[in-house]
């Protein structure tokens, strides 16, 4: 690994070298290394790029790291990663993609992640997307996440795209069985002429299933964002979707929440708010001695924390 790759790894996974325990590290379109552990087996797919991750039932307090690094300009890849999480597990999965594009061609990573979460299993999924580079080539990331939660399963997704991704189209499709819960916390910040679109489709099929889909975003400069969330209640269930956006400069944000109740006991809520930073927040921080720009940074950093 060179310095650029190490930095990307630090940005997306908070680590400097290959992680401990179960991991799969993909660099410039190739599997750089992988390691299975006693309870977590990582198998390379034969028919297409990607891996299958099998987590034995009852595995507790273990984690899997699957970062992807692209530092070669112009590389385009599509990767399939399938997570098979056994019954009663309690695990953390850390994914992320970092692109350094120093050339003039577009670099593109599209990951299709599928989660099959077994009965009463708990899983925390953390995903960070980061781009950098001094060339004219664009950094493009199009992640798709497919989620199937069995009875009593719980998945918490934390996704963040804060810097350097020129174009993104994120798609998340989830189906929930009885007593299953899906929590999504998404953070997006766009600059320059970047574009980010994110779509959630959540089907609450089982009795007492529930979801919270929460998106916080900041759009600066001339960037554009679109947030679409559709939550369907097909049983006695509870669903909540929230989009909260700060808009600055000449940016544009659109939020399109849709809730569809197909059962009289479905309880669904949507909230969407878009606005600039409140003047009183800036003034308060300025009375503490911060400049207007410093105050703005504090407010944005806090909002996206």
């Amino acid at each position: 690994m060179d310095k650029i790759q190490q930095n990307l790894l630090e940005q997306v996974a908070g680590i400097h070298e290959v992680p401990e325990g179960a991991y799969s590290l993909r660099i410039n379109g190739q599997l750089h290394g992988k390691n299975s552990s006693e309870n977590i087996e990582i198998v390379r797919k034969e028919d297409k790029p990607g891996i299958d991750i099998y987590i034995k039932e009852g595995t507790k307090n273990e984690s899997v790291h699957i970062p992807v690094i692209l530092s070669q300009s112009g590389l385009k890849e599509l990767v399939y990663n399938d997570f098979h999480i056994g019954e009663g597990c309690d695990i953390t999965i850390v994914a992320g993609c970092g692109i350094h594009n120093g050339g003039s061609e577009n670099s593109e990573h599209s990951g299709i992640h599928s989660f099959f979460v077994g009965k009463n299993a708990r899983c925390k999924y953390i995903e960070k997307h980061y781009g950098e580079g001094d060339g004219n080539g664009k950094n493009v990331m199009n992640p798709t996440t497919v989620v199937e939660l069995a009875e009593g399963a719980y998945l918490e997704m934390e996704t963040a795209q804060i810097k350097g991704v020129d174009s993104t189209n994120r798609v998340t499709n989830a189906k929930l069985d009885k007593n299953a819960t899906l929590i999504v916390r998404e953070k997006i910040m766009t600059h320059g002429d970047q574009y980010a679109e994110t779509t959630f489709d959540v089907e609450l099929n089982g009795e007492n299933s529930g979801t919270h889909v929460i998106s916080r975003s900041v759009a600066c400069d001339r960037s554009k964002q679109k947030f679409i969330s559709r939550v369907k209640g097909n049983a006695k269930c509870s669903g909540h979707t929230e989009c909260d956006a700060i808009i600055m400069d000449e940016a544009q944000v659109s939020a399109i929440p849709e809730i569809l109740a197909q059962n009289p006991d479905a309880s669904l809520i949507h909230e969407a708010a878009i606005g600039k930073i409140a003047g009183e927040q800036l003034i308060k921080l300025m009375t503490l001695g911060l400049s207007e720009k410093e105050a703005e940074e504090e407010i944005v950093n806090g909002f996206l924390r």
Partner: protein, 237 residues
């Protein structure tokens, strides 16, 4: 220390403050008067949130009339809002650190919270968002001013919303603040017990200073409704 020279402030045709002249250098100065008399406007003029339409403001001899909010804060002016501001994602510790101007330790920030009657452990990592009550926010606002420790601190109705916490504690906070800063603490208030600790009292009515003097001289006039002071009837009855 702080001086208003012929300061007026208008919004459109409406004159909010009319030719105010004040010299403020005492330890505790209370500002009182009926709603709409211009008290909060005085606080905003001091902190630089608004600038006078006429007249000049001096701080330690320097003309600060055109100075920005940030520069006034750096020069040593603090302002506790009447209605504290909420922030999504920013914690109590963040605000106290920002106020103190450095990344202070957890135990230091806890000390500031304990002083205003908040159990530090329960609050230090809380977000300053809608989950906090108005009274909690007021106390955090005071803790921030305490953390700044500047020579001039202005409080806009600090007691409002603080129900269960006795005024004695609030007064103790101000006294300790003075011991540390040796500066001026200006408190906008309607509360008799706060006015009672003041060295000087300024009474505003209809955008004008109608009384300014030692507490012992001004306070009895405010309290004695029988003298028929026109401003006491509306504020302190």
């Amino acid at each position: 220390m702080l001086e208003f020279k012929n300061v007026s402030y208008s919004v459109g045709e409406k004159q909010i403050l009319k030719n105010i002249n004040l010299e403020i250098s005492d330890r505790f100065v209370a500002v009182t008067g009926p709603n709409g008399s211009g008290k909060s406007t005085v606080a905003k003029l001091i902190s630089g949130i608004i600038t006078p339409t006429e007249g000049r403001i001096f701080f330690n001899g320097e003309d600060i009339t055109e100075m920005s909010i940030t520069d006034r804060a750096k020069a040593g002016i603090s302002f506790a809002f009447q209605q504290p501001v909420r922030f999504k994602g920013i914690t109590v510790k963040d605000l106290i650190s920002l106020a103190s101007g450095k990344n202070i330790s957890v135990s230091e920030s806890c000390a500031f919270l304990s002083e205003v009657g908040l159990c530090a452990k329960d609050y230090i990592n809380r977000e300053v968002n809608a989950s906090l009550s108005g009274g909690e926010l007021k106390r955090i606002e005071i803790a921030m001013i305490n953390a700044r420790g500047t020579v001039m601190s202005v409080f806009d109705e600090p007691e409002a919303g603080i129900d269960l916490w006795s005024f004695n504690n609030l007064i103790k906070v101000f006294e300790k603040m003075y011991e540390r800063t040796q500066g001026t603490i200006m408190i906008i208030s309607h509360q008799e017990r706060i006015l009672n600790i003041a060295d000087k009292i300024i009474v505003l009515a209809d955008g004008e200073v109608v009384e300014y003097g030692d507490k012992d001289a001004v306070f009895p006039k405010l309290m004695d409704v029988r003298t028929g002071c026109r401003f006491t009837k509306t504020t302190l009855v």
